[in-house]
Amino acid sequence: MRTRIFRGSFASVTALFSAMLLWAVLSLIFMPRWDEVLQSALSDEMLYSIRLSLLTSLISVAIVMVLAVCIGYVLARFSFPGHHVLRTLVDLPMAFPELVLGLCLLLLFGHGVLSQWLKGLGINIVFSQAAIVIAQVFTAAPYAIRVSYATFRGINPRYELVARSLGYCEFSAFWHVTLPMAKGGLFAAMVISFARCMGCFGTVLILAGGTRMFTETLPITLYLNISYGNLAMAMTSGIILIAISLGAILVFELLNREVML
């Protein structure tokens, strides 16, 4: 009897939450009229927003993966004073609301030594399209680093030692042994990063601004159109965001399965 109550209550909570989640997603898909969605999707603003989102996300994912591989490997393999501090530091942005992270980046790139130095070189980050990439990188990197760290930790360092005993230097052993062995985890980090970059809103809004047809990524399109009361455009950008994220996950999963086989 107790077992039945235990199992029943857990299953009910799971079913209730799953139903609510599915309902919310289906509302977005079935509420708008499809001719309006098509018209919105083909509008100049939406096409610009899709292009900018994909371009900045791909650039950001490339940067994030370089960071994740380097930092994840350092954390997994090297022991040094301040190891725990570094781990906490790279995890920190995950605990921040995106708006706060955006504010921190605005202060870093908009006021102070770094911004003065960049301005001296003729580079102005704040409210530019480059700011979108920076915002996305800082938002997505902690997730990718965490996955990459766990992946490298899971690979016995003795594989590298064996490779080194066979004549490979430290970097070659990493390149020929550790990196191929980590491909599954790194693919997962890539998927998570891409999803985070595509959906990055608060940080982009604060650092890059929400300028129409300039720094307008898909989440910004959704926000701007909700503000103007243009519900069709807002819902279309939502649907596209979901479709792109789902598509990315599917493609990466397929690729990953192929690579793992």
């Binding site: 030692l161 005993s165 066979l166």
Partner: protein, 373 residues
């Protein structure tokens, strides 16, 4: 024989363990087993040779060349682990060819060397297989091929047979014995299995708590294990306290053993009046229901307490005035002798089987300076 690999005062401090001032020498053609319980520091010592601990203290020489500060890729040592460490993204061929590719050899040469080694190890038929589909024995052969094909000066093996089942382990022992003899490979093999030592080694190093306690040819170490932990670990039983009696030059050493001050004789020498630890291996004892007219000089009266069947042999536990004793008999011998628990029996052994392990106290051990082979 030339000294090939030499460690001097190797000291490694890890968070929960330290290797303490270990020195040892391996000569060309040696098969040296490092024996000890789990956590004795055997693997740490082995990995210090290959360069896993760059911050270690002490020095390592390969053919008199100091390799202490060299990275692992410059040391010319090969390693094989218990869990094989085969690269899962490469097939068997590519795993074996891995080291050769780094040497930038011609493709045909790599192919030839891999096939020749695979043939020697009996794995030619699995070269295209994914390593994750191999059996334990096949994985181990692949790992050994990968290490040997690169022609290391010394092959280091860390518990290389521990993950194998008993039958495969026995096959691998015989196979490795023939292979290293054929190739003339020098091997350092970490193990906790005394059978590996008997089957393979011409030298053995016994380690406990990060220190070398005893080293030498297996026959010597097993015949005269240091009293205490080494003797216990090496399976020494029938260990008694004894006092050395007076004897003249050329005579056997008389001993008065146990509470009953039983008179025994040994071919080992000691000083008269000295308190010593003596031992006789159970397989060296003959059991009989009455004294026998044999050349064996020690015949100790006792009583059978129990018999214990272990595989094809039976261990007979008894008590004598020298102390508790154990002997090993075949089942048929036990049956023929009609020795049952409670019956009287004589434990009979030769003087050269009674070994003086050392002075009773204080126990001396060569660990701090490192036992040299």
């Amino acid at each position: 024989m030339k000294c090939l690999l030499r460690g001097e005062g190797i000291t490694i401090r890890l968070s929960d363990f330290h290797l303490d001032n270990v020195s040892m020498e391996i000569h060309e053609g040696d098969y040296c087993c490092i024996l000890g319980e789990t956590g004795a520091g055997k693997s740490v010592l082995l990995e210090s040779f290959i360069g896993m601990y760059p911050r270690m203290k002490g020095r390592i020489f390969l053919r008199d060349r100091d390799i202490t500060r060299l990275p692992p890729e410059k040391r010319e040592l090969g390693i094989v682990y218990q869990d094989y460490m085969l690269f899962p993204h490469l097939n068997v061929f590519d795993n074996i060819a891995f080291g050769l590719r780094k040497k930038r050899l011609a493709r045909e040469e790599i192919r030839g060397r891999v096939h020749s080694m695979a043939e020697r190890l009996g794995i030619s038929h699995i070269l295209e297989r994914d390593v994750q589909t191999l059996s334990g024995g096949e994985k181990q052969r692949t790992a050994i091929s990968r290490a040997l094909v690169a022609r290391p000066q010394v092959l280091l093996m860390d518990e290389a047979f521990s993950a194998l089942d008993a039958t495969t382990r026995e096959k691998m022992r015989s196979f490795i014995r023939d292979l290293v003899r054929e190739l003339g490979t020098t091997v350092v093999h970490v193990t906790h299995d005394v059978d590996d030592v008997w089957a393979l080694a011409n030298k053995v190093v016994v380690m406990f708590d990060g220190k070398v306690l005893q080293a030498g040819p297996p026959e010597d170490v097993f015949a005269r294990p240091l009293p205490g932990r080494v003797a216990k670990f090496l399976g020494a039983c029938n260990v008694f306290s004894a006092t050395v009696g007076h004897f003249s030059e050329g005579e056997l050493t008389p001993l008065s053993a146990g509470k009953g001050a039983i008179g025994l004789l040994s071919t080992d020498k000691a000083c008269p009046g000295e308190s010593v630890i003596v031992s006789v291996r159970p397989e060296s004892i003959i059991l009989a229901p009455h004294p026998l007219d044999l050349s064996a000089r020690n015949q100790v009266r006792g009583q059978i307490l129990k018999t214990e069947k272990r595989g094809p042999m039976t261990w007979v536990h008894g008590k004598t005035e020298a102390g508790p004793m154990k002997a090993i008999l075949t089942d048929s011998a036990l049956e023929a002798l009609e020795l049952a628990p409670g019956s009287e029996a004589f434990f009979i052994f030769k003087a050269n089987c009674l070994r003086i392990l050392g002075r009773k106290a204080p126990v001396q051990k060569p660990g701090a300076d490192g036992a040299k082979l």
